[in-house]
Symmetry: C2
Subunit: 373 residues, 2 copies
């Protein structure tokens, strides 16, 4: 193997792959490696932790085709440290990959490409296409609600489904919940969403997809197989093994009516929450929300430390009410809404709260209240 | 106590003080507090961990004088979260400090000012004055050589002394070593350096002084007492308890002759070191330095991972030699030198290496070699 490659493109590829390789792998484990395959006019690269795989390619001047697996972290640090415009890579004796640029020569210990684990191809030809910026929004509005604990069976991923918009448009809806809050977000797509046995996509893969679509123009292709889903971008493909668990029937927990509706300015509520959270340091980050006709008063208190009180202008329809919420959860919802105002739809003291952008039906957030002392 | 204060000045004061209070203090301990004293037209603030104290003052509109000690971290977060131009602080019942700005009201649990530990005044009237930017340089060139372990008796601080420049100028010299490397740096001063029993100043205090003089114009005053030293800036004073240990006789370890002298471009050597350090991952970060007449070749190797080789142009006077150094130590020295080229003065394979700016006699660095395998 012998190829010359643009340093910046190689660095971008290796930076991408670093999120996909097994970080906890033993030193020298093949799962901490990136597979490099030079052939034709491209360098193909693959990184996997077995559940999640990235396939990509970068243009390269290939003199001698070949393949090698080398430690992804060391190769990333090596290429990052180089300042020349191009990098030359040559496979030498004993599976050593020689990396040269200017006066610098590195020799990385490699393993034969044949030892690199094979990711099975997707058993599905049908797929959908969605605008990359719409997918970015949908993921931003849902990923934070996925349970952070991988042992939360059924809640450790996001559920994908197709819904029909009020005007008949086909929409891809992504739903996530950790049991205390839920969010869904949707966007139009073309093509076909053909879900197989399972529809629960693990958090880590979606977080990497979110990184890859950052700033991207154009469309992304998504296909579901029986056991895996793939997301295809211009120059790379993410293969994600689906979770075996079933997502709960989330429609059951969505309130269909409300007794009170409060409208507040989003930025004002965000600022106020930031301040009351200083003294909301218990596990549930509880903040007292007192809604009156024209004001929402937020208070928090930490014994032996202090307390905080904020007042935010509001328009309340319905009876005044005082209830508790995890302030951090509300803050995260406000952070992924783009609107000037938000609507809070409330029931009774212990009923879930719906948070909405009044101008857009494309996302919905549910936050369960907490009991106040 | 009741005062109005500019929000940004208050925030700057509390940010400064946060480096001085005891971080490991039990929640509610007085040592994690800042003492606020409002009187006349100023708010005075004090933070201490008993060994290190910051005294400062900020202009304030004081309506009712008074004092209170409140948790420094909570007060910092509170003031940081406020967006108004001014902040009003009022001492209420039960030692509660009410902090108000706009629609925000905080009440912080305080402790009586009388419970705050008293730092004894300095028993010394003689002092020196030094340009703030010169002190910043001297500290930058020495602090990194102090032993990071507080149990390294005699090496866990920097030694201060007066030396006379070749033109007869009085110079303040600061010296630090961790046993494997040493640096000294000096600058002219006016007034008098009257060292008492001890001259070893702890690392933490000097690091905080370095932060305080960042970007500062004008002069700084330094005085040594029997057990403490103080550094006086425009609007604050740092009081540091001196270390009881004695600094080693560092002149004994400074080589007075050399057999070889190599001149290299500083930035080129820095870049090369950055790259070879990728595979220099043993404890001593060992890098092989092979000096020939016109080239310095750096190599490093990590078993089972790879190796790196760099070549840097050099002018060597003396016989070629190959020896090992901790690459990180050399890198840190190069990072605090401002010159285009550096001189490396060498003896034999296991003799210390002197690193110098060829154009300035104001700093000297010694790095001990490491044995190569």
């Amino acid at each position: 193997m012998d190829f010359i490659i643009d340093r910046d493109s190689f660095l971008q590829a290796l930076t991408r792959v670093s999120g996909f390789v097994e970080r906890k792998a033993q030193n020298g484990s093949i799962l901490s490696s990136v597979l490099l395959q030079a052939d034709g006019a491209v360098l193909r690269y693959t990184g996997t932790d077995k559940a999640l795989t990235l396939f990509g390619s970068v243009p390269a001047t290939v003199k001698v085709p070949g393949e090698i697996a080398v430690d992804a972290g060391y190769l990333l640090n090596t290429v990052k440290s180089l300042s020349g415009a191009t990098v030359t890579c040559t496979l030498g004796d004993q599976q050593r990959l020689e990396v040269r640029s200017g006066n610098s020569v590195f020799r990385l210990v490699g393993q034969p490409g044949a030892e690199f684990p094979v990711t099975p191809p997707l058993d599905q030809s049908r797929s959908l296409r969605i605008a990359a910026d719409a997918l970015a929004r949908v993921l931003d509005q849902t990923l934070f609600s996925i349970a952070p604990d991988d042992n939360r069976y059924g809640l450790n991923g996001a559920h994908f489904e197709e819904v029909t918009g009020t005007d008949g448009t086909a929409l891809l809806r992504v739903v996530a919940t950790d049991g205390n809050r839920l969010s869904w977000s949707q966007a139009p797509f073309s093509g076909e969403l053909a879900i197989g046995r399972k529809s629960l996509v693990p958090r880590k893969g979606l977080a990497e997809v979110r990184r890859l679509v950052e700033g991207m123009k154009g469309e992304v292709e998504i296909a579901f197989g029986e056991r895996a889903a793939v997301v295809r971008l211009d120059d790379c493909t993410v293969h994600m093994r689906l979770l075996e668990a079933d997502f709960p029937d989330y429609r059951q927990v969505l309130p269909t009516t409300f007794k009170r509706r409060a409208s507040v300015e989003r930025a004002e509520l965000q600022e106020a929450l930031k301040r009351v959270l200083i003294f909301a340091t218990d596990i549930s980050r509880s903040v007292k929300f007192a809604f009156t006709e024209d004001a929402l008063t937020l208070t928090s208190r930490k014994l032996d430390a202090g307390e905080s009180r904020e007042e935010v202008q509001t328009e309340l329809h319905g009876e005044p009410i005082t209830m508790g919420f995890n302030g951090r959860f509300l803050q995260e919802v406000l952070g992924v809404l783009g609107s000037t105002r938000v609507l809070l739809e409330l029931g009774d003291t212990l009923s879930p709260c719906l948070v909405k952008d009044p101008g857009s039906p494309d996302a919905l957030f549910v936050v369960m209240p907490v009991r106040l002392d």
